[in-house]
Symmetry: none
């Protein structure tokens, strides 16, 4: 996989939603693209898709995206494919049109170019009928939005060489995709057969007036659709069968195949041969993992997906937020929110490490530590009467210096708990010390030492805080008077270094 | 919705994966449950599900979950339903068994109790045939895992009263669920018709030897399944049609209904009536939102879902992580991204202050400063050959300390430019100093002083960096040898304080 290499130059034939999506993924990956599409507005579609792709990936990763490739508009097929290592056809789903385009492309492309079609379901052998070199041809079927979804189905025709499939898989992997090799040439390949079954059943439901488009969509996205982001039907049903496995599940639900649960009526006979095959394939897929293990993976992924949707206030995430509010409301009547741990410290904030806080090393990324610390400060300020209301009146505390020490790793799902010490204060300044620990075992994760200035926001200079704020600070300082000075507070970087690096200064 | 009230007590008839899932959701929500199931191990199943539910929800939210309800095992149906406000039957999918259980439950339950069946697809009118009060009966069909997935399909029979549906919807909402009212009594309701279509098509693919269970599952979870967590088929296809809307999409893809893209062959005729209905229902669903708007929602949700899966190192998230590593690696060789400004400093990073980086004071929020600084460090590391690829080989530089000084404000849209100085290094340590300035006028915004340790990631301890990395550091240090030591570097908090707060110590 490490050897997967980006194509040097790609020719795109056709720029609809799919062709434009290819353009976006390629350009964003730093690949130069030549686009042929005689329809008006072709390059605008590609540019719209590129803009969407840039936005999406800038939210998806902190990794620096490569310098964007260049987009050239070609006037002819021959011009587009000149020098291309990969030709990707995404014309409308009309067989004669594709046959003609692919034949032209193959005749004009470099001798080592791979020619691919994005067709959703036409057979590769048929659409490559006019090509002089069908051995270099395959179907590479992506999914909209092409710049985000990893799946690409690769399916060769009878003339396609194994080398073509291999090289194509490598090129698509280098583009960040997940090639799925379809081993038998079949209309609709794999995914579109499943999509088409859902689509036809959904059309029946609308046709028969059973449900509206929106109701049918809701039936997916609030339930089974959430699971499908994480596991396919076979693994999901294995889990539904419990420890007894797939054979048990089939004994329970096999008979339902005879029930009128879909209008699409032709069903395979569930004989011993099919049952044995199902069971052994399901066992292979589970690869020795227990149901408990699989249930944990499923649940953790669903939690991550639901957390993500909650962050977008969309779909099933809205229901999760409603439950949270309900629980918060119920708890409000029970406690005052500030846990009194008896250790003299303030306990103002907890946080769960969100999946998108994780960097490429698998740990919580650096700046999220400061987010947790700053959020704690944001809970401290209302406590001394200097919260949002106070800021609205014209003054506020601004952080002017921060010293963070990293003491342990935090991973997705970890629950963090922060304690707070008021180190010192005067009329204009506030010196805070936060400690982040893992809530489960109390192990230290980081400390934050923060100096804040009390600022007249309009004048932009430090002024004394109000009397009530200072009185509140005095009270907290008094309550923490007996606490020892934290080891690392008031030191310069490198001064309180861990034993792993013994020299105090470089 | 605010008036939705939890059921006081719920009777569960049957404790398989579904009954146990109900128990878990109810107990976690603080509802008392009486469980009737003559099979051995029934309460263990419920307890396993409760344990999973507690784990999942503790990762999903910081909101304090209510005090758990109590689980009582009942010896008879009558004992279970005594005092219950809701009776939920989740017995095996055998019609006579359900008819009998529901009749018993209805006869013994309080007069105002709602009786519900979890059946996946049996008709409510038929299974309520033995009930003295079928007006209080409905199907409430949940999805596994019941404690996490919000969807519950509500479907009444011919005798079900509208009040029963309404009261049930309210109770399920109070349990954090998303009731979908199925307006027409039909085998399989809505979701299971779609699930069954996928399932039958998938069985054909296995039966015909086209693909294995694992390949079929992959065809879902790396592509269309990701979308279904966010949007259903109709809205997804509307987006695929682009600005031209649903009629245009159907003109393009309607003909495919005649193609052999599934083995489930019965298809509705796409006549004007069906087409008009589809178009108007799709318009209603879009509710005036443009394709651009919907595409943004879709992409943001997909980004959130993919980020979540990356955090779990599962499915499509693994592909995203691979792209990140690839980009990191590419940044390593792209030395032309390093502007040589002639000042001896490294210029590795620029950033634009995004609108969502702004806090309630109107400035860039605290932790985003560290984001800009950490992003700069992330560009420094590939420069010395210690980027993503190096990390993949088992060692990496971890930040252990950070000292940030805030020198000026940054507002939405400001372009920030960061310069970097290598202060010092030894085999195990790296001491960096970044300065953030406004790109337009060069005015200072913040400085960051950072100590990084070179760590063997598996062993979790500091080890010397590789020779090539150290050589690269030597070269950079040599090129910056003449630069003066930055004023504020190597100082403790408060030591190099700005004139706004003249006292050097508190």
């Amino acid at each position: 996989m490490a050897d997967d290499r980006l194509p040097r130059r790609v020719a795109l034939l056709g720029s609809g939603v799919i062709g434009g999506g290819w353009a976006a993924r390629l350009l964003l990956s730093g690949v130069d693209v030549a686009l042929y599409d005689p329809a008006p507005g072709a390059s605008e579609i590609a540019e719209t898709q590129l803009r969407r792709a840039q936005r999406a990936w800038s939210r998806l990763t902190l990794a620096p995206s490569p310098r964007s490739g260049t987009l050239t508009l070609a006037g002819t097929v021959a011009e587009a494919v000149a020098g291309a290592e990969l030709v990707q056809e995404s014309a409308p789903e009309r067989e004669p049109l594709k046959i003609d385009l692919l034949a032209q492309a193959c005749a004009a492309a470099p001798a080592n170019a791979i020619i691919a079609s994005s067709t959703s379901g036409l057979l590769p052998t048929q659409i490559s009928a006019g090509m002089p070199h069908p051995e270099r041809f395959l179907v590479a079927h992506p999914f909209n939005p092409v710049y985000l979804l990893p799946l690409v189905e690769l399916c060769g025709g009878v003339h396609t060489s194994p080398e073509t499939i291999e090289r194509a898989a490598s090129l698509y992997r280098a583009l960040g995709m997940h090639p799925l090799i379809v081993r038998h040439e079949i209309d609709g390949f794999i995914a579109d057969r499943l999509l088409e079954a859902v689509w036809r059943e959904a059309l029946w439901l609308v046709h028969d007036g059973v449900a509206t488009a929106e109701e049918i969509d809701d039936a997916l996205r609030y339930g089974p659709g959430l699971r499908w982001s994480t596991m396919g039907t076979f693994l999901i049903y294995r889990l539904a069968g419990g420890e007894a496995g797939m054979r048990h599940f089939m004994a329970q639900f096999g008979p339902a195949l005879q029930l009128p649960w879909t209008k699409l009526t032709d069903v395979p006979e569930l004989d011993d041969e099919l049952l044995d095959r199902l069971v052994s394939e399901s066992d292979a897929q589970a690869a020795g993992r227990s149901i408990e293990e699989l249930a944990r993976v499923r649940d953790d992924c669903l939690v991550a997906v639901l957390s993500g949707l909650r962050g977008q206030s969309w779909g099933a995430g809205v229901d999760i937020a409603a439950t949270e509010r309900r629980w918060q409301r119920a708890a409000l009547t029970a406690t005052d929110g500030v846990a009194a741990a008896g250790d003299g410290l303030l306990h103002l904030h907890q946080a769960i490490v969100a999946p998108d806080w994780i960097d490429y090393n698998g740990h919580m990324t650096e700046y999220r530590y400061l987010q947790v610390l700053a959020d704690t400060t944001d809970r401290f300020l209302p406590l001394i009467g200097a919260g949002g209301d106070y800021a609205a009146s014209g003054s506020s505390f601004y952080t002017v210096e921060t010293h963070i020490r990293h003491l342990g790793e935090a991973h997705a799902g970890d629950r963090l708990s922060v304690s707070t010490r008021l180190l010192a204060h005067d009329p204009k300044r506030l010196h805070l010390f936060h400690e982040i620990r893992r809530a489960d075992d109390g192990s230290p994760v980081a400390t934050g030492e923060h100096m804040l200035l009390h600022v007249d926001m309009a004048a932009g200079r430090a002024v004394p805080a109000g009397a009530e704020v200072l009185a509140a600070l005095d009270r907290i300082a008094e309550s923490q008077r007996e606490l020892p000075w934290p080891d690392s507070a008031g030191r310069a970087i490198g001064a309180g270094q861990a034993s792993a690096a013994p020299t105090p200064n470089l």
